[in-house]
């Protein structure tokens, strides 16, 4: 109470002489907050925020985004691509390499949500009020832009009952107005329709909250990781096997299902012109040592669903089976997954990681070997029709014991020896008694494994959004009143009138159709044409 009193005193201080210029009031934190809130509730603010969102997304379209293309971003930062390192540093400071993860994008989103909420709350209130309020009585119907006067032999009550039926069929909400309350003292029906416009509008905007919840759930409880596996190989669904992991805060290591996936076969087929036709991984699922599903085909657009996880066909490659022997001792026997770099499949095999004399192989594979006019080897197609493997042998202190990517071992000078192999081939002894064998050429397949909760929430949000959008664009509020009274000649005069708040041109047509129906339904004196006067403004065009 005390506070209220003080505030009142401040507003009209009796001690202050009137007519004095008041000093500008310095807004306190509460006033500032209130001003910001008022500003946020304005439609023009929402528009500015929407534009800012649009501009942010242009930026994200044309500046490479670190979460999508990390290599390009690294090049921009190093200055080897893009506008140069100093500008890249400025971009970094402004978070332009990760727009959708930047603090200002989050701020923008939060402001939009606050603005949306500020706009919605009063509109919900008004909508609730309007929907519950029965249709209001009409006055001076003859002055409305859409009105028609008809004459019928029915008595007023019966005539209104007929029209009431017609309005009911048109799904109007109707109310019979008490004769004593109408100014004209005539019987009246007030009808109303089209709350779906505002309802749809609110639904559309509310759908954004549903979408936001979906995004939040996916962020918090989702998981995505990638894994490559060679034909015949198996992986277990555990955190450590995956690369490029994106895990939500609440998707813990224990949440992995622990089932095993075995790649039984991978098949890439091509059209006659060399373009890819289909990539199919055939996998089996093993739980607790038992094969629970087998022969499952995973293809692009056809992921495998198992136990809440989804397995997508992502990429594939060549994995030559390489055996390295020193005399009869097998030093290395594995299938090496190669990556495609411009038509050549390359990779590294760590043969012997213990010092001294570490051994590594640089591998390059041409799947469809041929030699061009100038004597240089190339691959005719992507299909392994005539695979040839080139192996360079490195021996010495290669740094293979370090925890870095195998391909980055230390290469000083020239490789010790090189050899060219076809499947089934074994090299001559390269260094002392070392031989390299290219046993055969299986393929490897790369999968994305993900758990994406909140998908149904997103879908529901999208459907609400669409339904809301359509009904807010096409719905329109309109009111129709029908009044009837007995005239001196014993006939009944019926006045039909209506207004629309939106889409007035469409309403004019609908009103004309309603009048036509009323005219047909109301009996007139036999032989006499229905006398009427019509005034429909929107019919000039």
């Amino acid at each position: 109470m005390a506070e209220t009193t003080t505030r009142t005193q401040n507003a009209t201080d009796p001690r202050q002489p009137t007519g004095w210029a008041r000093l500008p009031i310095i807004p306190g934190p509460w006033e500032t907050l209130l001003a910001v809130w008022r500003r946020l509730r304005k439609m023009s603010t929402a528009l500015v925020l929407l534009f800012s969102l649009a501009i942010a997304s242009i930026v994200a379209t044309f500046i490479p985004q670190a979460p999508l293309v990390p290599d390009t971003v690294a090049n921009w930062r190093a200055g080897t691509a893009g506008p140069g390192a100093p500008i890249a540093r400025m971009f970094d400071a402004a978070g332009l390499f990760d727009v959708f993860g930047s603090w200002w994008f989050t701020t923008l989103t939060v402001l939009l949500v606050v603005s949306l909420t500020g706009c919605l709350i009063p509109r919900y209130r008004a909508f609730w009020r309007n929907v519950r309020r029965p249709p209001a009585a009409g006055r001076n119907l003859e002055r409305l832009s859409n009105h028609t006067v008809l004459r019928t032999t029915l008595d007023p009550t019966a005539a209104l009952a007929v029209v009431d039926g017609l309005l009911a069929r048109r799904r109007f909400r109707r109310r019979a107005i008490d004769v004593t309350t109408t100014r004209s003292g005539r019987e009246q029906i007030a009808a109303e329709r089209g709350h779906w416009r505002e309802g749809g509008n609110l639904l559309f905007h509310t759908a954004f909250y549903v979408l936001l919840i979906g995004v939040a759930v996916a962020q918090a409880f989702g998981f995505a990781g990638q894994i490559n596996v060679v034909e015949g190989g198996t992986f277990t669904d555990t955190r450590i096997v995956y690369g490029n992991v994106r895990a939500g805060r609440y998707f813990g290591i224990d949440d992995h299902r622990g089932f095993q996936v075995r790649l039984d076969d991978f098949d890439a087929s091509y059209h006659a012109n060399g373009t890819p036709d289909d990539f199919v991984s055939t996998v089996s699922i093993i739980e607790d040592g038992d094969v629970v599903r087998s022969g499952v085909r995973v293809r692009p657009n056809h992921p495998l669903r198992h136990d809440g996880m989804k397995l997508y066909q992502l990429r594939f490659g060549m994995a030559p089976h390489v055996i390295v022997k020193a005399g009869d001792t097998v030093l290395f026997d594995d299938r090496v997954m190669l990556g495609n770099s411009g038509g050549v499949w390359t990779g590294t095999a760590k043969v012997k990681t213990s010092s001294p004399d570490q051994i590594a192989l640089d591998l390059a594979l041409l799947p469809d070997f041929a030699v061009d006019d100038r004597g240089r080897p190339f691959s005719r197609s992507e299909q392994p029709d005539a695979p040839v493997l080139f192996a360079d042998l490195w021996v010495g202190e290669l740094g293979l014991e370090r925890a870095v990517d195998a391909s980055r071992f230390i290469r000083e000078g020239e490789p010790v020896a090189g050899t060219t192999l076809v499947p089934g081939g074994t090299s001559d002894p390269l260094l002392a008694n070392l031989t390299v064998e290219f046993a055969d050429l299986p393929l490897w397949s790369g999968f994305q494994v993900s758990h994406a909760p909140g998908r149904w929430t997103m879908l529901a949000g999208s459907v609400l959004l669409l339904v809301g959008l359509i009904s807010s664009l096409y719905g329109y509020r309109r009111r129709v009143w029908v009044e009837a009274h007995r005239t001196d000649d014993g006939m009944t005069t019926v006045v039909v009138a209506g207004v629309a708040l939106q889409r007035k041109v469409v309403f004019a047509d609908a009103f004309a159709a309603l009048v036509a129906a009323v005219r047909t339904a109301l009996p007139t004196e036999a032989g006499a044409a229905a006398q009427e006067t019509t005034m429909t403004d929107a019919h000039h065009g």
């Binding site: 528009l47 379209t61 657009n301 929107a538």
Partner: protein, 370 residues
Amino acid sequence: MRTMADLSNTLFFVALGAYIAAMVAAFFAMAFTRVAVDGRMAPTVTGRRMGVTVTVLAATGLAAHVGSVVARGVAADRVPWANMYEYSSVMALVAVAGGLLVVQWRMGFGHLMGFVLAAAVLMMSAGAMLFVPAGPTVPALESYWLKIHVTAMVSASAIFILAAVATVLYLARDAGERRLADRSGQRYTAGTVGAASIDVTEREHAPAAVSSPLELRRVLSPVWFVVAPAAFFFVWGLMKYDVVRGTSMAPVGALLGVAAWYALPYLPPAAQLDNLAYRITAFALPIFTFAIVCGAIWAEEAWGRYWGWDPKETGSFFTWVLYAAYLHARATYGWRGRRAAWVGLSAFVALMVTYFAVNLVVVGLHSYAT
């Protein structure tokens, strides 16, 4: 299937030729139209014949175009809108069909056909430059979602073209009407300026200007109508291709600009154009929204995430936000009218940038253009 592919290509150029001829005829039809002071228009005998010629030529082109698309589908044995050439072609097809059936026939704005056809011709020419022989697509596109997502997207884009045509012409006509009203010292009513409250009855649509619409050409200098589109087309060509193509596209822009200036008196009043643009956009936006939602579902199916801010996804989000802003702007006092129209136009530019630039310039998951 070779013959089917050839047939498709031949019909494509037949359609293109018919559209160009129809477009020229449409501008001739304007020349043979008398305009009264109150804005009423009456074609001369030649004008009426020209009008029929436009319809016949456009319909013939449309038939050939449908044949081209169907033959392409048979040749490739899939839905014929899976690369940029095909997509551009179908977009032009839907735009012409919409122009003919809705804008001309249903709404009766026949004088807009020349511009609708011009937009279709531009779209087809851009598509022809990205021609690829009919063939199967990459495995990533082999899904029934291709039918749903891309069909919805191509329809929405085509309908947005119609809206953009109406918006550009609105901006031109509105500038003229304002200038006329200023000259004659009238205060304009809510009808002309800001034309465009969402619902105005026909009476409010009537132009406030009392001068003859032919005066519109006098009060607006043709210079800007040449310079601005020429510059726009130059920059567009420069960004998309190179200086040579940019320079060769500039005259096309200039020609279209002159055509718009010439057409000023024959266009419907600004308020009607604005209302037309709004109604078309309001029709296309739910389809566009549906297309984006389908795209998200497909992305979930194909790539394991429904939204990853891939350049195409970002671009379509951006376009959607701008169209949403257009609808809001039209409902906001102080924004409706010209400001809202500029928002709508920028949304259309965003749509085109998302379509062309993101496919051709930026590398992303949707870069299946060629």
